[in-house]
Amino acid sequence: MKTISSLNSLMPIRLLVVAVLFLQGVMYPHTSLAKESGSLRGLEASIVTLEITRQTYDYQQPWTRRTDQVTKMGVVLAGNEILTTADFLQDHTLIRIQKGGRGLWVEGNLKWIDYHANMAVIDLSDSKFWVGLKPIVIAKQTPSRGPAQMVRWRNGVLESRDLSINRLSVKKGKLTFIDVLQLELDTEIAGIGWSEAIVRGQQLIGITSSKEEHTCAALPASFLRMCLAARQEAKPFRGLGYFAFVWQRSNNPATLEFLNLRGEPRGVVVLDVPKNTRPEGALQPQDLILNVEGFDIDTQGDYLDPEFGVLSMENLATRNRWAGDQVRLKVLRTGKEVDTTYQLPKADYKADSVPDAAFDQEPEYLIMGGLVFQPLSVPYLQSWGTDYLRKAPFRLSFTTQNKTSLDRPSLVVLSTILPDSYNLGYQEARWLILDAMNGKKINRLSDLIEGKKAAKNGLHELFFQQGDSLSKLMLDATQTDEATQRVLDRYGIEKPFVFAPATSTKETPQR
């Protein structure tokens, strides 16, 4: 009886305590959180929230657009700048920044971006914004294992969650086709991958870039420091380079013997060197790469990095090396060791005949008498879904698999036909890669303008690449413009064409 009565008497006091704490949490979140998470004290002054609004496009109807929005994180750098991942900044229309996890939003400006590095720097003109903020310390070294914390603003609260570093690896980045150094972390945290800060103590060891199942990838501090320093040293930023050649592991002793290697198994076999990256004699198929930049290469294609341990040799293309740099190689060629160099080509989406991405530009298209032409690109193929290799028309998606065999700088596809009396009879023609128009080869969309001018006898003659479907069609050249305008009016399309700017790289965006 006594016990019960004692408990009863205590309950109102406990409830009161909970109520007061709750009230305090609502009214003074910063103060209370700073007190609760002592190890994070100060980090709230170095992490900001970014809200990005951007345009997205439907490549099946490239003249349409919609807006999309995402909230992600940024870290404060010295010099009143904010570092974040480049992800989702493509085609942005508005950047808003918030400090302290709540309160006013301030408009930011994109100052620098590199999609292959997946890094962006943002600044803003309102000098008052920086009051109370302080630059984060980027760790000089990136740990390759052990505990770490993810820090982000969430619902007005600076959230800190434990995660565990799995390893450092070199693999394809989220926005690029090249292999870059990445920090892999084991985590169950939901919604992570949007540039959240990964810290150990008070130091930044990475910013997250993606999450797949239970593994989160982050750009490691070493990579961040390297790119930020290079950005300061060389303007414009030279960009990341990469090894464009194809190599194969050499675990097979018979292959090494065939290549006349003496001694311990080592090296990797060069299979293919794209012609545009093959200076005479620099690197040849069936070369055995033994050493890159002074590092011995094992049969798996790995080297021993003094900072990170065993990594893929692909990392040596971005380890303090930039597009245009010469990388030193030692190869075994017809049984003799040869010292040579390889000039790193710049990672550039447009260098590919079927580009992986087309950022910061409206989708290109051209409508001619209801025939819709578009450049063949991965974003176009992705309009069939992320599983486009299965779902897109095979002959189009397969171009992404054998790019090296394509003999054109880019491809133009007749993507669809907007039915009109002008194009009667061709309603089913689509997904055809163009070869020529009126005798002019069509390598890019703008070639169609010249092709159109070359009409003969009042007719347009279009030829498609040799294949298993329609090879040719003809149209009345005297009626094309009238039909185009009729189609635009009928289908509610503002412009008959959109072409990309001539420049392919973007160092300082102008908006």
């Binding site: 018979a254 013997e257 007719l459 149209l475």
Partner: protein, 472 residues
Amino acid sequence: MLSLPAGAASPEKSVIQITTASQQPSWDAPWRFDSVRRSSGTGFLISGRRIITNAHVVSWAKQILVRRYQDPRPYSAKVKFIAHDCDLAILEVEDDRFFQGMESLEIGDLPPVRSTVVTYGYPAGGEQISYTRGVVSRIELQSYSHIGNRAYLAAQTDAAINPGNSGGPVIQDDKVVGVAFQGIPGLENTGFFIPTTLVKHLLKDVEDGVYDGFPQVGVRLVPLQNPAFRQALKLPDDDLGARVDHIFDFPKTKELLRRDDVLLKAGGYAVASDGTILYAGNRVFVGVVFNDFQKGETVPLSLWREGKTITVNLPLDIYQGDRTEGNQYDVLPRYFVFGGLVFTPLNRDFMRTLAGGWTDTPNNELFYELFYRKHESPLTIRKEPVVLASILAHGVNANLETRGRTLIDRVNGIKIEQMEDLVRAFNQGTNSAQHVLEFYPDRNLECLDRVATEAANPSILKTYGISKDRRL
């Protein structure tokens, strides 16, 4: 022997139940056979003591047993002719007793759409003969799934056609108007039968004792409905004529036809601008016309060329160039095993062994090679692309990077155009201590120690139960 019931209606007396025991090879382990499969179908007797059924009922059959209507006794039958392209077969039974009291069915013509037909057969779900009544819903060109890469005239009916009905007669006015053969998964009340035009073609074809098949013209014909294109070709606006868009590698066709010729008439049928003709009251693709012709016969074509109508008599031939793109039957797959590496020709049957979709990334190089290369790069095609189908694990191949399902380009410097090249390349003596294998299109390089591999070959064959290292 039991006599047939006197009161039975005549068609069912001629309908035959067929049971088979069949066994297919395994295309990714081509020395091996899958387990024996028992299945049943239907057939019917026609003149000359011939039994008509579907090719797919008796393909790969090790044993064929036939039973008469309400007679429990099985008789042994064998395939006299088989036409995989149109999914028909002719069986024969040696035992005279089988035919006692049986009457052959008469073969009729193409039934009109909306007319009533009755299918006879022995479908799953019971032992007795089954009858289902329906109407002919439509008649047009359909893909024949047994071969996989051919389309012929087919009639659609709402009469139930189920597994076991295959090969059974579709009857109208006591005459056979078709042979039940396939359905489309997911479609209800939809079955297809082979019209008698194809059955008659088969019967005429085999009169010389050899089945040749259906000839083709070898052109890609496309609609010609755009006014500008028609004007450019100076064609009248009469909605007639389809354009020759491409000519395939058919010698006579290449000689007599040209690209942009407009086909106005074929075998007496007027060709509409969408490439169709009116065939027995049905609007169907003009290709149906050529299916009425036999190998070596000549089809008269009326063509529009350079503003004038001309007549061309085109000799027709059988095209075998796309054989590997279709399913193949009754011919065991070719293979060669060397150092545990299993090589086999690339064909549709091998593609069917691949996990996942044919166009999945791991398989799409093979898919392209089989179905697209000849269209896009005809000068680069090989007579018989050879694929490294699998690797039988052994010490001599333990460290290969390649995991199989890859096309072989060269062995010891010899370009592999067909299986025989492969054997020759491995057998030829060189100074090299390795066999050097190059794959395509990725140029992967693999080597096998020459002495160790050749020494290991017998034990690899023994370990994996392969009696012969090759079937060529």
